[in-house]
């Protein structure tokens, strides 16, 4: 597995995701946002968390149109794998690679806490190390994670099984309390039509080592590196 992490001005979780990928056995390179192509043999393009361009205009809006995103789009069109985490998810939505938009959290607060997620399917390249319906303990840290799309788009995502993760309680129930940012249908992450692009607000890369509180995030990177 060769992973290319695209770094924008203001990205700040590139080091953490690189570490998580390396622990899972992947080979990792970083790519500056002005590059117009990804390194040869790239299997996975990664858009890390952070505050690209200071969240100016809208979160992910400027990064979504950066030169390197054309390369990411071409990689995705060839069937290559792409993952965007947190700001990376916002960038994927702004770039048009995933539908919808991440709006301001419903209670207007920046939220930063441990978060249970329900894995909606385990038959994708991102989740094969998990079981369908498994509840995993990861983290969230965002001010704009409130997933919104029009009713037709939501119906299509649900109908095509493109919801990757939902905010849940420890038993996998989708409660209002578990969905702190107010996302429609408790959506925490979605796939593209061909299931090769994943965008998610929570941070699986935070929990890959017991020393820092949990290891439930490992499954995602192990699935990718498998």
């Amino acid at each position: 597995m060769r992973a290319a992490i695209v770094v924008f001005p203001g990205s700040n979780r590139d080091g953490d995701v690189a570490r998580a990928l390396r622990l899972a056995g992947a080979e990792v390179v970083k790519v500056w946002h002005t590059e117009t192509s990804l390194p040869d043999g790239t299997d996975l393009a990664v858009l890390p968390g952070g505050f690209s361009y200071g969240d100016y205009l809208r979160c992910g809006a400027i990064a979504g149109r950066a030169g390197a995103m054309d390369a990411v789009r071409a990689h995705a069109a060839r069937g290559g794998l792409v993952i965007g985490i947190c700001n990376g998810f916002q960038i994927l939505c702004e770039s048009g690679l995933l539908p919808g938009v991440l709006m301001r959290n419903v209670d207007r607060r920046f939220i930063c806490h441990r978060q249970m997620l329900r894995v909606e399917r385990a038959d994708t390249r991102f989740t094969s190390a998990y079981a369908k319906g498994q509840v995993i303990d990861v983290c969230v840290a965002h001010g704009e994670g409130n997933y919104f799309a029009d009713a037709d788009t939501i119906a299509r995502l649900e109908g095509e099984g493109r919801v990757a993760f939902r905010y849940s309680d420890a038993d996998g129930n989708l409660t209002v309390d578990a969905n702190r940012n107010g996302s429609l249908n408790s959506i925490a992450g979605i796939y593209s039509e061909k299931l090769n692009v994943l965008g998610m607000m929570p941070h699986p890369e935070n929990f890959v080592e017991g020393l820092v509180g949990g290891t439930d995030g490992r499954g995602l990177f192990e699935s990718l590196a498998a």
Binding site: R58, A61, V101, N105, R108, N146, A149, G182
Partner: protein, 79 residues
């Protein structure tokens, strides 16, 4: 030539900031405000002197970057 672009949230899209401002106005004793929606204004200077072609340029600026048309509308005023 100068232009003003106004970007607003579409009807029905939740606006937590607008809601907070609405609540703040009421707490400051400004009564009678029944709703606030927050938007953005961009004052743009363009080299073009032809209004029609300037509008085409600005429309593409809105579609490509300034507005996210999933949740936002935009208006262009040549001033």
């Amino acid at each position: 030539m100068k232009a003003r672009i106004i970007v607003t949230l579409k009807t029905g899209v939740l606006d937590p900031q607008g809601k907070a401002i609405e609540a703040a106005l009421s707490s400051f004793g400004i009564s009678g405000v029944e709703g606030v929606r927050q938007g953005k204004v961009f004052d743009v200077e363009i080299a073009d002197t032809d209004a029609a072609s300037a509008e085409t340029t600005l429309k593409s600026a809105c579609e490509k970057l300034l507005a996210n048309t999933v949740v936002e509308n935009y208006e262009i005023e040549i001033v």
